[in-house]
């Protein structure tokens, strides 16, 4: 007992002494280290400047020139500059951007943030994921840091970097609102990061980075409802992992082969009706779907043996199939369950 109490006293004394020292340190610290350490500390947590400095130099402005078809009101076609952003992926000069930025253009220019400008070559593009790869011949290029192992989670802070309206490089901040299972612009590709960091016209193709400045996605577009009105605060990016795979294929083969059966669908149908399936709204003439006997108003419930719950899911399934694959399709017509086999073709460019 005696032993115990003396141990306790020793313990209390030493802890007490330690605390006194700690108190002195804490009280005195502001006087000798105030401005330096506190300032640095608060800067670290009140700013994403570190992330910006790492990532922003590798985000480029893209100016592409193409012909615009004449309309009834303006019969002549005209050549116009289109605006976009891109991300330098490696020191060889490969740049990821959005397909719609460089679609149907004959001249592409890339401007770095340090003022350098280069003519760029289009290596390949994939309409389905709205991605394209460019290449510039340049040295000492800033390269974007890529996401190491961290998973993208809903609620993560993200920074979008691009050149909206050509006013100059702009950083916007938001959070990941959702990941995966979202219908994007192309009304087809579904595996997108949804976020509320603002991207505007011209920022497409730019970088989405995390708070460490690592690339987690290629900014894509804003949400447009069926009525064509944009929703504020709903924007999309193609996840880095998918973009990297597409880039690799484009560099190696010049294109990404996508499966195609030739149906159009109502993307919102399953949500509204809370039914599991896809309502076909149109079948392209001479398409694989037409040859297999599918018709508008058929209600697809399974493709290739897998049940489909939503339009994006079904379209991903088709797009991921090799051309030539025979897919068994189950559907309802006039409340009768039917089956047919569709031979997947290649998505026309």
């Amino acid at each position: 007992m005696q032993q115990l109490s003396s141990t306790l006293r020793f313990l209390l004394q030493s802890v007490g002494l330690g605390l006194v020292v700690a108190a002195i340190v804490i009280i005195a610290k502001p006087f000798w280290a105030q401005s330096e350490s506190l300032r640095q500390n608060s800067n670290e947590i009140t700013s994403f400047n570190q992330a910006v400095r790492k990532a922003a130099p590798a985000v480029v402005n893209i100016y592409s020139m193409g012909e615009i078809q004449g309309s009834y009101y303006q019969p002549q076609s005209s050549r116009v500059w289109r605006l976009g952003s891109g991300v330098i992926m490696d020191s060889q000069g490969y740049i990821l951007t959005a397909h719609h930025v460089v679609d149907n253009v004959d001249k592409i220019e890339v401007a770095l943030q340090d003022g350098r400008r280069y003519a760029a070559q289009l290596i390949g593009s994939d309409r389905y994921t709205d991605l394209a790869v460019l290449k510039i011949d340049a040295e000492n290029l800033p390269v974007i840091p890529v996401q190491s192992t961290r998973r993208v989670r809903v609620g993560d802070i993200v920074l979008a970097i691009g050149n909206p309206y050509n006013i100059g490089q702009t950083i916007t901040q938001g959070i990941v609102s959702a990941s995966g299972g979202r219908v994007g612009v192309s009304n087809s590709y579904s595996d997108l990061i949804q976020m509320d960091a603002v991207i505007n016209q011209g920022a497409s193709g730019g970088a989405l980075v995390n708070s460490a400045g690592e690339l987690i996605g290629i900014n894509n577009a804003r949400y447009n409802s069926a009525f064509g009105d944009g929703g504020e605060g709903i924007y999309f990016a193609v996840p880095y992992e998918n973009a990297r795979k597409v880039m690799k294929t484009l560099i190696q083969e010049g294109k990404v082969v996508r499966g195609y059966i030739g149906i159009s669908v109502n993307p919102n149908f399953s949500e509204e009706q809370s039914l599991s399936g896809i309502l076909i709204t149109g079948v392209e003439r001479n398409s694989p779907a037409a040859k297999a006997g599918l018709q508008p108003n058929d209600f697809l419930v399974a493709i290739g043996g897998d049940p489909v719950r939503s339009a994006p899911e079904g379209l991903d399934l088709v797009a991921g199939s090799e051309p030539g694959t025979k897919l068994e399709v189950e559907f309802y017509r006039n409340e009768k369950r039917m089956t047919t086999t569709v031979t997947v073709a290649e998505l026309p460019r």
Binding site: A22, A23, S42, T46, S47, G115, I167, G168, T172, Q173
Partner: protein, 451 residues
């Protein structure tokens, strides 16, 4: 034991008091037990942001169609000027509680005859305009008989970095005080064509109509910008807002306090943005800056030894990325002040001290003499004052002035600058004869004093 307890309580006091100061208002990285919030900072800062409502009359000019002049006769006025009453809403920031000084945008109080300032707690005060600067869109008001006002702490916008968290406080759409958060999207934004002098902080914090003149603050609650404009094709916010940096605002406000007007300093250089191509061609080791193509003879720049071909890359240690940024920086600093310019010449960086001269740039001539209404005068390089622009059929045109005329003297006394011209005309009463040089010929034009 008691002593230990006392120590413990001391420790507790110390740690509790030190925590809030170390992490004041950090929105996303707070303690796990604590909700991340800006509320403590905002409680202190928001009383310094006020609503401004104005009433006034604005001139609406209507051109009379030529066809109608037939009915009204040859002597009918070419323009009909009508006054229309208007009301406006905006925001403002109290920067000096004791004196009642409120900063806002010039476009909020432009043409206002009555200005009402409403504090966050509902108290209302009349305010008067101390001075405005149209070219940078800054105005300074004074609250009449204000008591118990809260002022905002002024921050240094020069220390701001892209990616810093910021909070916009204002009164959008007259809804009442509204706080929005975002980050600094870009710095030194210029060349947008919103104001003549632009050096904006760009932010994605939502700014809307009515936010104009409101505060952009850091997480420490320090004022680093006056929210001024947005880019929004449909009029609403799309995440691109612009604020006048606090350093620039403060420079202008100090001049407004002292003189009631901005006495802009003039450097006396012409030029453009340095581009990569120019940099390469001239072997300049930087890609961004203000490229000097011409130095006005006799100007402060010439006196300080700045030469054409120089690239100005910093002002008082602050990086300059474009010529318009240099213009905005110099334009917000009063004449007579000294600046340290970082200049690249022959591939080497050197530092040049310049004392800014007084403004002597183009002015509307009406302010010099009523008979000169319709002419815009600009200083030449010491040879007189040039009629830069002339409105057709204006009083100035009717007395015989033409565009390109150079006013070289008043009643045979030579004038070489706008200020000399102004002084010479103010001295005279009755008939004033201007010595004009037009091309190779000279002539006299006579002004008659209205009074």
């Amino acid at each position: 034991m008691k002593r230990v307890l006392a120590l413990f309580s001391l420790i507790c006091v110390v740690s509790f008091t030190s925590i809030p100061s170390a992490q004041a208002g950090i929105p996303f990285f707070g303690n796990d037990d604590e909700q991340p919030t800006l509320a403590p900072m905002l409680e202190e800062v928001t009383p310094a942001v006020v609503n401004i409502s104005v009433k006034g009359k604005r001139e609406v000019r209507q051109r009379l169609p030529e066809a109608l002049r037939f009915f009204f006769g040859p002597n009918s006025p070419h323009e009909q000027v009508r006054e229309r009453p208007f009301r406006g809403l905006g925001s403002g920031v109290i920067i000096d509680a004791e004196k009642g000084y409120v900063v806002t945008n010039n476009h909020v109080v432009d043409d206002a005859t009555e200005i009402l300032v409403t504090l966050k707690n509902g108290r209302e005060f009349d305010a008067k305009v101390i001075g405005t600067d149209e070219r940078s869109d800054v105005a300074l008001l004074k609250i009449e008989n204000g008591e118990d006002l809260t002022e905002i702490e002024l921050g240094k916008s020069s220390e701001l970095r892209v990616g810093d968290f910021v909070v916009a406080i204002g009164n959008p759409f007259g809804l009442g005080q509204t706080v929005t958060s975002g980050i600094v999207s870009a710095l030194g934004r210029a060349g947008l064509g919103i104001e003549e002098l632009e050096n904006f902080i760009q932010t994605d914090a939502a700014i809307n109509s009515g936010n104009s003149g409101g505060a952009l603050v850091t997480l420490d609650g320090e004022l680093i910008g006056i929210n001024t404009a947005i880019l929004g094709p449909n009029g609403g916010n799309i995440g691109i807002g612009f604020a006048i940096p606090s350093d620039m605002m403060n420079n202008l406000v100090q001049q407004l306090i002292e003189f009631g007007e901005v006495r802009r300093g003039v450097l006396g250089v012409r030029g453009n943005d340095l581009t990569h191509d120019v940099a390469q061609a001239l072997n300049i080791p930087v890609n961004r800056g203000a490229f000097v193509s011409q130095v006005v003879p006799g100007s402060s720049a010439a006196e300080a030894g700045i030469e054409s071909g120089d690239v100005i890359i910093s002002v008082d240690g602050q990086t300059i990325r474009s010529f318009s940024e240099l213009g905005a920086m110099v334009g917000s600093i009063g004449s007579g002040n000294s600046l340290k310019l970082g200049v690249i010449r022959d591939g080497e960086e050197q530092s040049i001290n310049v004392t800014l001269g007084a403004q002597d740039m183009s002015v509307t001539a009406e302010s010099i003499h009523p008979a000169l209404q319709g002419a815009t005068l600009a200083a030449t390089d010491g040879n007189g004052v040039e009629v830069e622009e002339l409105e057709e059929r204006s009083p100035a045109a009717r007395i015989g002035l033409e565009e390109g005329d150079i006013i070289q003297g008043v009643n045979r006394k030579a004038v070489s600058s706008l200020s000399e011209l102004r002084a010479a005309i103010e001295d005279k009463s009755g008939v004033i004869a201007l010595n004009i040089k037009r091309g190779d010929s000279s002539l006299f034009i006579v002004l008659r004093n209205a009074n």
